[in-house]
Symmetry: C2
Subunit: 313 residues, 2 copies
């Protein structure tokens, strides 16, 4: 479930656009009003506000936001305006073009979305960048990472319930053979993880656990893992139990020294409208701290206020 709260009844898009305009005008910017309006509207409402704002005031809302605020607050608000599909396409492009290819972003987009959601992201990506997500991933990565990411991003998986238990047993064995030999980059591992349906993979992972008395992710983290094994593990966790995966990423991000604002922004924005409530609960159980408390400790100012509003403080 989402964590953003939307007033009922919500103000009209005309009222909201007017409030934003007033917040931008005069001396300085009224950030609290911006947060008040934008953090408490869903994707459809934000889209409507943007349309109305641009009609009424003949200026681009995003351009205006960029000129009014700055830093992590600006980047977060900017990305938040978009709907989840557009935002993922933009985040994918940033991840691909950043100095260090940002694997988790691509893995999450490829593995958490349903096949049709991923397809929608790819379609928006093409309309924004005039290239396919596949070609950009393939031309910005090399070796085994390229093989894996390209296959994960490319495949239009079967999304039905139908599974083949015999096949799951066979492929669990193939996975185990390769993993115990430390051959994480084995073509068969990549083939199985990138092409089978999530329902089929789930069955395979269960067969794996039944036969080996440990989960495949456990096996991947104990068999002298390398960078590639870590990426494989992330892909499996994103497909198998995304909420648990994101709880972990939240904990890792919030517990390390310093603040990784890009990751924190991505996590909050991606889930606030979707499943952040459940992730928050997992987080609290594991850390004896609410997500709000943890985020508040790591952030400050308008950026902090904005994230906390999205987390549902």
């Amino acid at each position: 479930m989402a964590t953003i709260s939307i007033p009922n009844p919500a103000p009209s898009a005309i009222e909201d656009a007017e409030k934003l305009r007033k917040a931008f005008q005069g001396w300085g910017t009224d950030e609290m009003t911006m947060i008040d309006v934008l953090a408490h509207r869903n994707a459809a409402q934000r889209k409507q506000i943007k349309i109305v704002y641009e009609e009424q005031y003949e200026e681009k809302l995003l351009k205006r936001i960029e000129s009014e605020i700055s830093g992590h607050f600006e980047r977060a608000v900017y990305l938040w305006i978009f709907d989840p599909v557009e935002r993922q396409a933009i985040m994918a492009n940033i991840a691909i073009e950043s100095k260090v290819f940002d694997f988790p972003v691509i893995i999450e987009i490829a593995c958490v979305n349903s096949p049709n959601e991923l397809l929608a992201v790819k379609q928006v990506y093409q309309s924004l960048y005039k290239r396919s997500l596949e070609e950009d991933v393939a031309s910005h990565t090399t070796g085994d990472f390229c093989k894996l990411l390209f296959a994960l991003v490319g495949t239009y998986r079967y999304d039905g319930e139908e599974i083949n238990t015999e096949l799951a047993n066979t492929e669990a064995k193939i996975l185990n053979d390769a993993i115990t030999k430390g051959q994480f980059n084995d073509n068969e591992i990549i083939r199985i993880l990138s092409t089978r349906s999530k329902a089929q993979l789930n069955t395979t992972f269960n067969c794996y656990k039944d036969a080996q008395n440990r989960s495949i992710t456990k096996a991947l983290s104990t068999e002298t893992p390398n960078d590639f094994a870590i990426v494989l593990r992330a892909a499996i966790r994103c497909m198998n139990n995304p909420k648990k995966y994101f709880d972990k990423v939240f904990r890792r991000t919030l517990q390390k020294s310093g603040t990784d604002e890009d990751t924190l922004t991505r996590l909050v924005l991606t889930h606030a409208e979707k499943d952040l409530k459940e992730i928050k609960e997992l987080f609290q159980t594991r850390t004896n701290m609410t997500l709000e408390q943890a985020v508040a400790k790591k952030t400050s100012g308008d950026y902090k206020n904005f994230l906390l509003a999205l987390i549902g403080n």
Copy 2:
């Protein structure tokens, strides 16, 4: 342009279903009536006939056809009933599951269709077989063939006009370096061919020709080609000039000794409703023989009559 001729006005689906029913009844089957009805209706009309037939006579039309006729004639009529997208999904499955993996079928489906047409075939494939085309291709092939076919089938290419000439020049050079070294299975060749848009690839192939004074397909056929180079070449020709490619396949199929009915059926069925008119013209220019004459020499009986009706005799 299509070669099938449809009467104007066409009989209603009820009349057609009735004619088929009469053709099936009594002693033997009236094949000429079957051909007369089915070879002269487009995909939408055939679908309608099937629906009406099954409502009126409470039996599956395809089952009845299977029980009435046999051999290559039966297989051709059976496949013809489906619309082009369904038929390609079925042909892909037959190609994958046949004793010897039938590369050209998969290459043609992956490379001739537009990205959205390919997506439609993949969607129907999933609804028919409860698996993705990608997983079936990947699990029935190995090595370089697997890499190439999986990438061609998987990628949802950019379909717009936007091209990058500088990139085309760079990638033409990459392709040439690998080809002149005989490294046809180079990862870069596979990446470029499988991920770039057709418009981009066209530009790259032109750069290749300008720089090397020979086309990439020419280079692939002269640099000590192996089986993999032949498949690469087919993929390039399917993307670059599918009509010329199919003219060539028609010629090869009709000029060799014996008859390869499966290929012949596929070629005629796939193009009769689409672009067989232009392929016929190319064929006649290259062979001094009409396609009808060449097909008539290689086939006989009802199968021959059916193909000739589709070719527009």
